[in-house]
């Protein structure tokens, strides 16, 4: 029995997930109705049901391509985590490393990946070029967020570690790295999305060069053949992959920060 005065309401999961799901379903219904009522041909705009049907009929082409894209994205993200966190730690430990390398990291960040990809495709095999492109876009947010987190440890705690005569590495392990964890996870979430975008952009470039096997290549290929339903189906898979990556990284954040950090903990104190 609810205690006296307790507010009645729908469960929390329903409050959280029902509105976006309802909006999504409404958009799909409106789209379906528009296509059917206006008799829009599928090479102009396929209906959602046709896109769903294409996902089934073309699964032999689309799902292997999805696996290629996902493998590239996750490999690039793993490399970006290793490189970004490693370099951020070096930045935190030795300022000369930061002064030496940060300008180059910024140059890579501000140069559009779509401009770098064709060059990389000349010098590297297509799968490696796509991987490097995805790595380059995911790397900087992880590096910059982690570096910011490592530099943001509480000043009083830093004084306390000095008072305890902690070594540089003790301060890193017991203070700076845990303090940087929320920042790193924020960078990881951004990097996860960007790795997918980088992989797609590079796959498109690879597709234009006649090389490739990922989802973006399949989109380009379907576009040349005016197979619009397959383009939409591939696009849907890319969106789902992006959502899955984001959800997985959000779950990781909640698991690592839930018991202590306000960004991941519930409203109760």
């Amino acid at each position: 029995m609810k205690p006296f005065g307790a507010a009645w309401g729908p469960p929390r999961w329903a409050v959280r997930y029902a509105p976006p799901i309802l909006v999504f379903l409404a958009v799909l219904a409106a789209w379906e109705a528009y296509v059917r009522l206006r008799h829009v041909p599928p090479y102009i705009l396929p209906s959602p049901t046709l896109v769903l049907e294409t996902l089934g009929t073309d699964r032999g082409i689309l799902f292997p391509a999805l696996l290629v894209t996902l493998k590239t994205t996750l490999s690039a993200l793993a490399a970006a985590v290793l490189g970004g966190v490693g370099l951020a730690v070096l930045f935190a430990q030795w300022q000369w490393v930061e002064r030496s390398f940060l300008p180059f990291a910024i140059v890579l960040q501000v140069t559009p990946i779509i401009a770098i990809a064709p060059l990389l495709l000349i010098y590297l095999e297509a799968p490696m070029a796509v991987l490097v492109c995805a790595f380059l876009v995911a790397f900087f947010p992880i590096l910059s967020n982690t570096a910011l987190g490592l530099a943001s440890a509480d000043r009083n705690l830093i004084d306390l570690f000095k008072l305890y005569r902690a070594t540089r590495w003790q301060t890193l392990i017991y203070l700076r790295l845990p303090a940087a964890l929320p920042y790193f996870l924020g960078g990881l979430r951004i990097g996860g999305g960007l790795a997918l975008i980088g992989a797609i952009a590079a796959e498109l470039a690879a597709g234009n060069a006649g090389k490739g096997a990922g989802l973006a290549f399949r989109i380009a290929e379907a576009g040349y053949r005016l197979n619009i339903p397959r383009m939409f189906a591939a696009l849907a898979l890319i969106s789902l992959a992006g959502i899955a990556i984001y959800a997985a990284l959000a779950a990781l954040s909640a698991a690592l920060l839930g018991h202590w950090h306000d960004s991941a903990a519930g409203p109760e104190r």
């Binding site: 306390l160 000095k162 008072l163 305890y164 017991y174 303090a179 202590w260 104190r269």
Partner: protein, 253 residues
């Protein structure tokens, strides 16, 4: 006469931006005493603690310590509890010992004893965000005392707490000092708190920071509610308050 635990002679501190935080400061910290630095904001109280702790160095004059500066020989409690939010209460208190290379297994009895002493024996697995402000400050005090330092420095530790919690922690701090025989240097701008806690009060004035008068509080220990309501307490508060007022008036002249 025994050598003081800390001795500042004609000490001065000038920050890089040219601010003169302290000038011509003479101060002895005697073993076993509870010394309070009382003064208005900006008079250099916290700077003295940082100098004693070795977190800053004097710009002029001398500072000598009558004890080894080995790890864990000085405990420090900040105005905020300054706990590691990602670590449990146990791990926060364990920190100083861990940095000395002591294993968790070996440290556990000492840490648990200290937590019991500050009344948090049942909260070892809790995280800071699950604790009240007073409980967090107790964890901070336990962390500072776990290595049984000969000197404990407290920088306005109870300033942000409500009065009831503050009174309770005042009593607990005196009990801890009695139990551990630690020398304490305490910073506050509360006249009442300084009189209740201290054997000696060094009243400070600002611009530049200096000690204008030392007041001995002769009331015997242990102190409690009876002392808070006694005429001796009221007289000492009046004296400290007047001295502080004179110091502030002098600055405003």
């Amino acid at each position: 006469m025994t050598k003081p635990l800390v001795s500042l002679r004609n000490a001065g501190k000038i920050y890089r931006n040219g601010t003169v935080a302290l000038a011509g400061l003479d101060l002895d910290v005697r073993a076993g005493e509870f010394l309070t630095l009382l003064g208005p904001s900006g008079c250099g109280k916290s700077t003295i603690l940082r100098l004693i702790a070795g977190l800053d160095s004097v710009s002029s004059g001398t500072l000598t310590r009558g004890f080894s500066q080995a790890r864990g020989n000085i405990g420090f409690v900040f105005q905020d509890p300054t706990l590691m939010p990602w670590a449990s209460v146990f791990d926060n208190v364990f920190l100083g010992l861990r940095l000395q290379g002591i294993s968790r297994h070996d440290a556990a009895p000492v840490v648990n004893d200290m937590l019991a002493l500050v009344g948090l024996g049942a909260e070892t697995a809790a995280f800071p965000r699950e604790l009240s402000g007073g409980m967090r400050m107790r964890v901070s005090i336990a962390r500072a005392l776990v290595s049984r330092p000969p000197l404990l420095l407290l920088d306005e530790p109870f300033a942000a707490l409500d009065e009831i919690t503050r009174f309770k922690l005042n009593d607990d701090l005196l009990t801890l000092q009695g139990a551990l025989a630690t020398t304490i240097v305490f910073v506050t701008h509360s006249v009442y708190e300084s009189v209740y806690l201290s054997h000696r009060i060094a009243v400070m004035a600002a611009r530049p920071g200096r000690i204008v008068e030392e007041i001995a509080i002769s009331a015997p220990s242990p102190r409690g509610q009876a002392f808070r309501t006694s005429a001796a307490y009221a007289d000492a508060c009046a004296q400290a308050s007047q001295t502080l007022q004179n110091a502030m008036d002098e600055v405003l002249k």
